[in-house]
């Protein structure tokens, strides 16, 4: 590291430390960022009750297939039924349709005829989720299950293609040994290599780490991450106001006269905002776990990673807003407008999965939607970290976009 960049990071660290100190000394800001959100959580917990949809019993997953007993879809159903944590029932497709119409079941997952051939041929194989529109939880659970099944098949297909390439490139002696080893593995039916059906006759063995651990959706499991998202963005959007206050009070000019560079000031402001956001994350999850008994799902590390990426994106938005607004009032107005609009649109006021499909698609222009989608998947539907990679990538993209724009647009004068 050069002396110049060392100085830059040192100054950025000092500036961030100063901002954090000011944050801790400002009781109003502290209350707004750390206490006020829990007022919302409490109020809405009371409104919605302990269970978000009023579904207070464990859900039964109904599965139907148009294929016969030797099909891959039947193997999938059998594998799911063998999963002890799932309450799975296979139903006849026609009976399922009638039961859904009669509202005696709330939804089911259906494997179309030709599913097995399509999987074996490497073509698109279809699974349809039929659901009562009023049963939001069931819809979300079945969608999540269908996505998980599709993801498993996709990953097996990639593995098979890689194996085929490897076999084709291997010397004849090695190839024979590999084929024998694969046949042994496939025969035992204990790994993905035998799962696709394209290379062997063995049925798919689907490993569910936590997918399908379907229980009634608890209100706090939705509200805590939703309001974390909303208030992290809200508080960090107000960073814009503090940055403009530095301009208006001429402390920014004083910093420049003190040898602070544009780079160190931007980096320091972003780091300060990021630090404040991380404090919010720690307080939220700590209070969520200890007071509200939130369940973070099977992968709490992934929930934390999503939180950190969200804070990074929010820090970028906050500093970017400071480059757009000209006055403190303007910055505050912009921060409030953006925060509330994004929160409503992005699933912080109501779960994304109860919104119409087209609105869910549109909501993806907000970082909130990606964060809330990841939290819902991980915390409500037992998704694995791999299945929220698109959400994480999107939050990373938003972070890079806004941090880049902020760095590019920030001016000292």
């Amino acid at each position: 590291m050069t002396r110049g960049t060392g100085s830059l990071w040192r100054q950025a660290g000092l500036l961030a430390g100063k901002d954090l100190k000011v944050f801790f000394l400002d009781r109003g800001a502290l209350a707004f960022a750390l206490l006020f959100p829990f007022v919302f959580v409490l109020i809405f917990s009371l409104i919605y009750g302990p269970s978000y949809t009023g579904e207070d019993r464990a859900l039964t997953v109904y599965l139907a297939t148009a294929e016969g007993p030797e099909s891959i879809s039947q193997d999938v159903i059998d594998a799911l039924a063998a999963e002890s944590r799932l309450n799975v029932r296979q139903v006849d497709p026609h009976e399922a349709g009638r039961a859904l119409a009669a509202k005696s079941i709330r939804g089911y997952l259906f494997f179309h005829e030709g599913f097995t051939e399509a999987v074996r041929a490497g073509e698109d194989a279809f699974i349809t989720v039929y659901v009562n529109p009023e049963a939001q939880t069931v819809r979300a659970a079945l969608m999540s299950l269908a996505e998980a099944i599709a993801a498993e098949f996709r990953s097996y297909r990639v593995t098979l293609e890689a194996l085929e390439d490897l076999l084709a490139a291997a010397p004849p002696g090695v190839r024979d040994a590999m084929v024998k080893a694969l046949e042994r593995g496939g025969g035992e039916g204990d790994g993905p290599a035998g799962a696709g059906g394209a290379a062997t006759d063995a049925g798919p063995v689907i490993v569910f780490e936590s997918v399908g651990d379907i229980e009634p959706v608890r209100t706090v499991d939705i509200l805590i991450p939703a309001y974390l998202t909303m208030f992290v963005f809200f508080a960090l959007a107000l960073t814009a106001e503090t940055l403009i206050a530095e301009k208006e009070s001429h402390t920014l000019e004083r910093l420049v006269a003190s040898s602070a560079t544009r780079g160190s000031i931007v980096a320091g402001k972003i780091a300060g905002a990021f630090g404040r956001g991380l404090i919010q994350v720690v307080v939220f999850w700590a209070a969520g776990l200890l007071i509200f008994k939130v369940r973070m799902g099977g992968h709490p590390g992934a929930v934390i990673l999503v939180s950190v990426l969200m804070v990074l994106a929010a820090s970028g938005v906050g500093v970017f807003l400071a480059t757009v607004a000209r006055t403190k009032k303007g910055a505050a107005s912009l921060a409030v407008f953006i925060s509330l609009a994004f929160a409503a649109f992005g699933g912080s006021w109501w779960p994304l999965f109860i919104m119409p499909g087209w609105l869910q698609t549109l909501a993806k222009v907000t970082p909130h939607a990606w964060a809330n989608s990841a939290f819902n998947k991980l915390m409500l539907f037992g998704a694995t970290p791999g299945s929220v990679l698109p959400e994480m990538a999107a939050l990373g993209f938003f972070a890079l976009l806004f941090l880049g724009l902020a760095a590019w647009r920030f001016r000292l004068d």
């Binding site: 100085s7 100054q11 000092l14 500036l15 100063k18 100190k21 000011v22 000394l25 400002d26 009070s249 001429h250 402390t251 000019e253 004083r254 910093l255 420049v256 006269a257 003190s258 040898s259 602070a260 000292l412 004068d413």
Partner: protein, 252 residues
């Protein structure tokens, strides 16, 4: 670099959106001198100071401080200067000590060096006993003294004081005067702007009067007064009004 040319301002210009705020200003400041820059509102004093202190880009001309060009080596210039802006550039939530330590550390001082220098500066401005109180609770005069103390954190050779006594009571003002004279006696060079003519008369060895972005007079207070009569009877305010006229100036 000779002591007589510690600061050299040469044909300095600043143009904002077609408006010339500073129009070919030139002067030199000797090492250890308190140099006054006077002028009505909108004369270009603050713009000149901001260019000299590297915080505003120069449109044309140049300034050298201790032999370093503001245009070419702003970072080198910043090591020699301290700036006390007209506004109270302070973090009101922080204590006086925290403000000083923060700006000292931004200047490259270690935590220990900054703390020691901060206490020294607070003693200089008479605020040792209030060091650990939030600046928000200070009176206007005390805030002004903190503003000055911050500017001294890097022990500058050249100190810019832009109207440092605005809105303070006579006690604080006299304390600030004493501090400035003490700094000068210690060898510090000071560029001082004010609207209070008696302050300039008391403190400054030489004075430049600006109007319309130009320097219209530059001399010692005695010589400036002598231009218009008996220096013992003519005041600097008389000189100022004769040079700049009585027309009201509302520009900032």
């Amino acid at each position: 670099m000779a002591d007589a040319e510690f600061v050299v301002v040469r044909d300095l210009r600043k143009v904002f959106n077609g408006h010339t705020a500073v129009d070919g200003v030139s002067f030199t400041i000797e090492r250890g001198e308190i140099f006054g820059l006077l002028g009505p509102n909108g004369a270009g004093k603050t713009t000149t100071i901001r260019m000299m202190s590297t915080t505003l880009p120069i449109s044309a001309g140049d300034v050298t401080v201790a032999g370093h060009s503001v245009r070419r080596k702003p970072a080198a210039v910043r090591r020699h200067i301290g700036v006390c802006p007209q506004e109270l550039a302070l973090y009101l939530e922080l204590t006086a000590l925290d403000n000083l330590v923060f700006f000292g550390r931004m200047r490259g001082l270690s935590r220990r060096e900054a703390a020691a220098q901060a206490m020294e500066n607070l003693e200089l401005v008479g605020l040792t006993d209030r060091a650990r109180q939030p600046v928000a609770k200070f009176s206007g005069g005390m805030k002004r003294r903190v503003n000055l103390a911050i500017a001294l954190m890097n022990r500058p050779e050249l100190l810019f004081l832009d109207e440092p006594t605005v809105g303070v009571d006579p006690q604080s003002r006299n304390h600030i005067f004493d501090t400035i004279e003490g700094l000068r006696d210690g060898g510090m060079t000071v560029l001082y702007t004010t609207h209070y003519m008696e302050e300039a008369d008391r403190l400054c060895r030489r004075i430049a009067i600006m109007d319309g972005g130009r320097v219209i007079a530059l001399d010692t207070p005695h010589n400036l007064k002598a231009r218009y009569g008996d220096p013992e009877r003519v005041t600097l305010e008389d000189v100022f009004l004769r040079l700049t006229g009585r027309r009201l100036r509302d520009a900032g």
